[in-house]
Each structure stands twice: as C-alpha cells, then as structure tokens.
Symmetry: C2
Subunit: 461 residues, 2 copies
C-alpha cells in the first residue's frame, strides 16, 4: 500500500516511536508531584517544551501542549477573543481555514460575535491587501493558516502579520500543515499546530501565545499547562512530539527539495495523461509535498475506492466523499472544480518509483470511473441548426451526474443556445461554472427553482 | 523507589504497553478515511469502543473517548447542562468532588447558573437523603463521584441515582478512582473516567452518555467522536486504554482482596506506631487500595520530602504542599485534620514487604519532622492555679505552627481557662478544631481579628 495522504495524518516517525517508548517508563507520573517519579516526569515535560519552543521560534514559557491541534486552535481563538473582549468582538479568518478554525468562528458568531471571512484568489491564497482591508477598530483577532491543507498554497503570513501589527490586532497562525517543514516566519502573535501531521503521535498539539498578547483561557479552570490546556499531561506523547519535530526539521530542507520535484512532476504530467483535469493551487508558492487536482465527470468516492484497490491512499475534497455532502469549502472558496478531486500529499521519504507508478495507474482508473458513469468523450460537439433552449433534469442526482448530463446535451443546442440544468446537489453550484470555464462555455448564472436551482449555460463554441 | 500514589497516576500496565506498541503501526491514520490505513484505524477504534463499553456497562454508541478524564468531566457537565437548559440551571455536586467537577461547577456559576454543594459526613460520604433533599424542579444535573480520590470513601451512587431518577434529574458519575476496580452500579445517566488512573496511558478519558439523556455538546462543532470530543483521535492511546481496562478488571477481584488487607494493616497500625495521628475516611465502605491519615504537628511538604528520601512516593492534601496554600477541600468538607496529611494509594501488585517497610520507616520520619518543628511531646499537661486566658500570636506562621504553639501553651492555662490563637493560615480554621477533638479540649469558636482570625480553645482536661 502506498500512502500519499500525509496531510491527513503522518505515520509515526521512527524518532517519535523511540522517544515514546523510552518515556513510557519515565513519563507516566504526575509532573506536579514532588517525589522522584513526578520530578522525572516534570524534567521530560520541561525538556520537551524547550525543544518544541526552539522549533516553533518562541520562548518555552510561551508554549503549551494541548491534546490536539484542534484543541490548540479552539483554545487559542477562544482565549485570544476573550482577552481582547474590550477591543471588540470582531474576528477575521480566511475563507480557506481548516474546519477547526471555521467551527471556532461559527461558535463565536453564535455567541454574538461577528466574523469576516477573507476571500481567496483562485490559487487559494489571500491577498495581503484584501486581508488588511477588513481589519477594524473592533477586530479582536485575525486568523490565517500558514499553508492550506487541501491545496498546499502557502499564505502570505509575514505580510498579513505586518498588517495586523499595524492595526494592533493579534494574528493567530494555524501552522498545522507547515510546522514540520519550517518555522513560521513573520511577527505572529499566536500559533497552533498538531504533532500527528509531522510524524509525531496523535493526542498532542501545540499552542504558542507570545508574551504581551492578551489572553484569557476559557472553560473551567485547570492548573496544568499554565491554565491553557486542561487535563493530565500526556508526557510520553509530548516527548515523542518534540523529538520528532526536531528530527523532521533536520531532514526538512533536503526532503523538501526532493518532494518538490516529485510534485512538480505530478503537476506537469497529470494534465498530459488524463483529459479534462484541473490542477489547482499555486504552482510555486506551495508546500513541497502536496498537490491537488480535479477530474471532470468523475465521482470522488469511486475514484478513491479504485485508487485504494490499485494500492494508493489519497484523499478528496469532493462532496460525495464527505459525510456532509457538500464539496470542500476550500475548493468552493477558490471557485475551482470539486468533482473527481484528488489530493496527493507525499510523506517524507516517499519513493520516486511509487510516484511514477501512481502516474501510470491514474489514467486508467479515471477512464474506468468515467466509463462507469457514461461520461461524454472529448470529441468535438455537433452543430445543430436554429436557436434553442434545453432543460436537463438532474434533480436528486449526485455529483458529478449533473455535469455529465450537461456535457452530454451541450452539443444538442446550437452555439448561442442555452442549457438549463436543474440540480439540487450542492456541488453543482461549484462544478457547473468550473466546467464552463474549462470548456470555454458561458456560465450565465443560477436561477431559483421549485427544488434546488436552475444553472444556465450558454454554448459559445 | 516504592510508588504508593496510584490515585494520582498509575504506571503503565504491561498490557497497555503491548497494545500501544502494537497499534502504533496500525492506528496512526485518520479513521474517517476510506482507504486501507483509515479502515484499519477505524477497526481498532471500534473494537476499543466495544471493549471499553462492556467494562463501563453501556452501549458502544453511548461511549466517546476524550483527551483526558478532565475533558470527559468538563464536556459531560457542560453538555448535560446545556441539554437540560429548559429544565433549569441548577447544578448539584458533592462537596468532595474532584477539582475538575468543582471547576466546571464554578464556570457554570460564573455563567449565571446556580450550584448546590452537598455536604458530606465525617467519613467523606454524602448521605443519600441529604443529596435527595437538594434536588429541585430546576435541577438540570447532579454529579457524584463513585469514590473519593483523597480518602477513598465509596459514595452511595446507586441510592443517589435512584433519588435522581425519581426527581427526573440526570446523574453524572465521576468514576475516575474506581472504574479499574469495577463497573459503577446503579442507574447513572453519564459517566466520566480517566485511563491513566487504571494503568492506561495519559491522554485518554471516557465519557458515557446514556441514550435518552438530553445532551448538547458545547464548544465549536467537530465531527469526531459523535461530536462530543473534538480533535483527531489518539487511537494507539485508546487501544491501550481499552485493553488495559479489560486486563485490570480481570485481576481486580483478587487484587482488591489482597490490597484491602494491606490497607487494613496500615489503618490499624499507623495509630499504634505514630502518636497523634488521625486516620480518616470510612474504614469499610472504601476503595481497596487507598488510605489517608493526618499527623498532628507535622508539616506536609517536609513529611513528603522525608518519605521521598526514604524511598516512598506518596501524596498529601496538606495546604503547604499545594500551590494554593489552602488545605484540601475534601479534608475541609469532612472537618478532619489536614496537617501532616498523607495519602497512600497502593498500585496493583504492591508488595507486602514494601508496605511493611513503609510502616517501619514512618514513625521515625514523623518523629524527625516533629522534632525539627519543636512539637510538644505527648506527656500530661501541667495544672497551674487560677483562671486565665492566654493569647498566642501565630500570625504569619504557616501550618502546623499555629497548632504547635497552641499545644505548647495549653498546659499553661488551668482547666476551664482559654487560649486564643491568632492565625492567618487558612489551615488553622480546620486544624485547630480538629486538634481540640483529638485532644479532648473544647473548641469555643472563631472570632474576627485585625488580621486573620482568633481561634478560641477552652482547656477541659
């Protein structure tokens, strides 16, 4: 099995395993106790904090260990918002943050706060000026990821941090996807990360809060981790997290260069090998190991299943692979195709031969899925006479069927004619405009309908 | 080093270690993913949930894994209170709950809710009738520990659950101290526990919520663990927790009988070996492995330090060993002596020889600490002539000095005379009455003073 989904979770790094096993005997006692076992546990905890703080680029007393990256994000946002309550209740996030940030923002809104989502460019990146423009006098906190988890684009954190600094607003950086590669540059105020993303164990996150940042921990009081992370410390996990962070950093520069080249290869060759593919995200300002593309006329879940059968583990932001049946909010915010979406994220040490084999296998797998769905071929369209309008009823049909039906009939209307696609799958709202862009047809717009919506497309060629 | 503080944290059980190591290779992937690594992780998670649910005595779909026992308590209380918001905002807890429960109660109160603390008897147990009496029409939730973490008394959970059932109030049981020994009997509604207390790893707690209990998870939304525990699942930890719970349960009956006998030995012999000791808690209705006693005229931190030097790791509820400088709320609620407090909690497999050696070492250690502090000996008091009142100024002196000063001068007043002790250490409020009870003197009461308080004691013999 070839695992190309390290952006979800990385296999345990050998150094993490070693450190974990070594500290099971030394790190189980309560570090708050004064006896020998407690003092040993405390020493491990302190040493891990120093090592992790060095890798993060902060002081040890600015760093707390949390039970997960999600907890770090939730606690960091809640604590910073509460600490800045007097400044106001306005929260700024980018539209492509991890769900943990967006859920914290939704909770803030439900509690009476206001939230501004900064739109992103088609690459997935925010524009620093656009971000700066929404900062206000009552902005309590701004959040920006260091790099996007679905498409790998690296965000302009240093520029946004500078704008935040000027506006007097603290910036929280979700560094989950990038901290294993490098420290986050720029003058951030809070930083969150998750160990299992860099090859550390599950159950450990990091929250850094710079001295001077107003912060008021929320939830019931607890004396552990400076009051910022309740519950008994998971010291073996923390030791393993800190040790593996150092270890991956030692390999990072070399490995980044190698994986960057492999990802470039995927980015270049997938569109050559597979028709009707859109590779998304920024080709240059990106994480070294991650690439995402979407395939027209492909159902994401079937594609993942077939790739799994062929021996490859990847993930997808297609709606039909998620429990919510809505396409990835990241792809939606970027305005790119969501159907047949595949994210490939290479683990450190990924073999070139495995990447080559993936590129060999992919075209056949995509073709097979398209054939199952009766997707139209890439040939030229017919040119019927006269003006005309056609209605396609795809109500109750799930992605990518509405797009496939559209593609099947577009040749049945003359150039200048329109097709109205009735659909109630959320993904259609994203995928029909994306199809138009890829196919050079005109997306006229969406009209209300009894059920779902009518998406109107005009044939241009 | 002999570790007698398993009530704080247990060393990792060999089965937990095995299970953890085995699942590091199988349990690192995201269990929400559909590919092979994800499915394997999901299988481990599901199997662990079934095993843990069986040990808890609930259905697997009633059980969620949390990052710690503290998280289970915090989430359980917040979720149950929110779910019963329409019933009211009254919360009932016993006065001797773990700090995680009391801190959650304080947070509820800070948020506008009301809290009733049910007093305990001198044994540390609540009286079921007293508990039932405070349940009201607007009581949203009641909390009761299965057994106390400091003095080991087993609470009447089944009786209180019955009273709650009658009143239509859900009962949350904090089973942290007892779940390794046995399932909690009685008709509870919610249950919380912590794996590192039974020999599982740190970083894993349990929260069971019975079907039919109204529950509304608080905090930002998260799809994991039925929305009740945010963040990526720590599957190796969870597997180790479930496996070790089964393993300790298999040994529990035999080990409980053996440790019960060792604790009986400590309970009987400490008062014979050490003068001026109060063994606290219930001698019968108690955890098998835990005993607590307090030594007059002894400073807790020095005692722990000397026991550590002698090779024994135990804990203490004395004020001077905690960062807050207030004596344990449990000892305070029980109205027992807090100075020179020692909690001994034996791990499974504790050697009889170690217990014997502890009993050999203890008298000399206590005597040494008392000598350092200049504590009075146990001899008969002098009998001076005439009535009289004496004032002892112990302002600014920390426990156990105020009590020692009192003991030194009580012989200087005649029978019927009084001693007024001026003290500003919080522990004096608890320890001076306790001293009177142990010494057969009369505690007249507390009077306001410029600084601290004046504690008035009348000599009776």
């Amino acid at each position: 099995m070839v695992y190309f989904d390290v952006a979800s979770s990385a296999p345990l790094h050998p150094v993490a395993r070693q450190a974990l096993q070594a500290s099971l005997d030394e790190g189980w006692a309560d570090p708050a106790r004064l006896y020998r076992e407690g003092r040993r546990a405390r020493m491990l905890l302190d040493a891990s904090r120093e090592a992790a703080a060095e890798a993060v680029g902060c002081r040890p007393d600015e760093l707390t260990f949390t039970p997960s990256g999600t907890h770090a994000v939730h606690s960091g946002i809640a604590g910073a918002l509460a600490g800045r309550r007097r400044a106001g209740r306005h929260l700024v996030v980018s539209a492509v943050e991890h769900s943990s940030v967006l859920h914290a923002a939704a909770a803030h809104e439900a509690g009476g706060g206001t939230v501004t989502e900064v739109a992103v460019e088609r690459s997935g990146a925010v524009a620093p000026e656009a971000y700066a423009a929404v900062l206000r006098g009552d902005t309590a906190l701004a959040c920006l990821q260091s790099a996007n988890h679905e498409v790998g684009v690296v965000q302009p954190v240093a520029e946004v941090a500078e704008a935040c600094r000027t506006a007097g607003v603290p910036l929280l950086v979700d560094a989950a996807q990038s901290l294993g590669w490098e420290a986050v540059a720029g003058d951030w105020s809070l930083l969150a990360a998750s160990a299992h993303k860099w090859g550390g164990p599950a159950g450990v996150g990091l929250l850094a809060v710079r001295k001077g940042v107003r912060f008021a921990s929320q939830g019931p009081a607890d004396e552990r981790e400076s009051g910022r992370a309740a519950g008994f410390e998971n010291i073996p996990g923390i030791v393993a997290a800190a040790a593996s962070l150092r270890a991956v950093r030692a390999e990072a520069a070399r490995e980044a260069a190698r994986l960057r080249e492999l990802v470039d290869r995927i980015r270049a060759r997938v569109p050559q090998l597979v028709p009707d593919v859109e590779v998304v995200g920024d080709p240059v300002r990106r994480l070294p190991h991650l690439v995402t593309f979407s395939c027209l006329y492909v159902e994401g879940e079937t594609l993942l299943h077939e790739l799994d059968r062929a021996g490859f583990s990847v993930s997808s932001g297609s709606s039909c692979t998620s429990s919510t049946l809505t396409p990835s909010h990241v792809l939606r915010a970027m305005g790119v195709l969501s159907e047949g979406n595949v994210r490939v994220s290479l683990p450190m040490g990924a073999a070139e031969a495995d990447v080559e084999r993936f590129l060999e296998v992919l075209p056949g797998v995509v073709a097979g899925v398209r054939e199952q769905l009766g997707a139209p071929g890439p040939g030229p369209l017919a040119t019927p006479e006269g003006a005309g309008t056609l209605v396609v009823d795809a109500l109750g049909r799930r992605c990518p069927i509405p797009v496939i039906e559209l593609a099947k009939v577009i040749g049945d209307v003359p150039v200048g004619g329109t097709v109205r696609v009735l659909a109630d799958d959320e993904a259609a709202r994203l995928d029909i405009p994306a199809w138009c862009e890829m196919r050079g047809q005109e997306y006229v717009g969406e009209e209300p309908a009894d059920r779902g919506a009518a998406y109107v497309v005009r044939r241009l060629s």
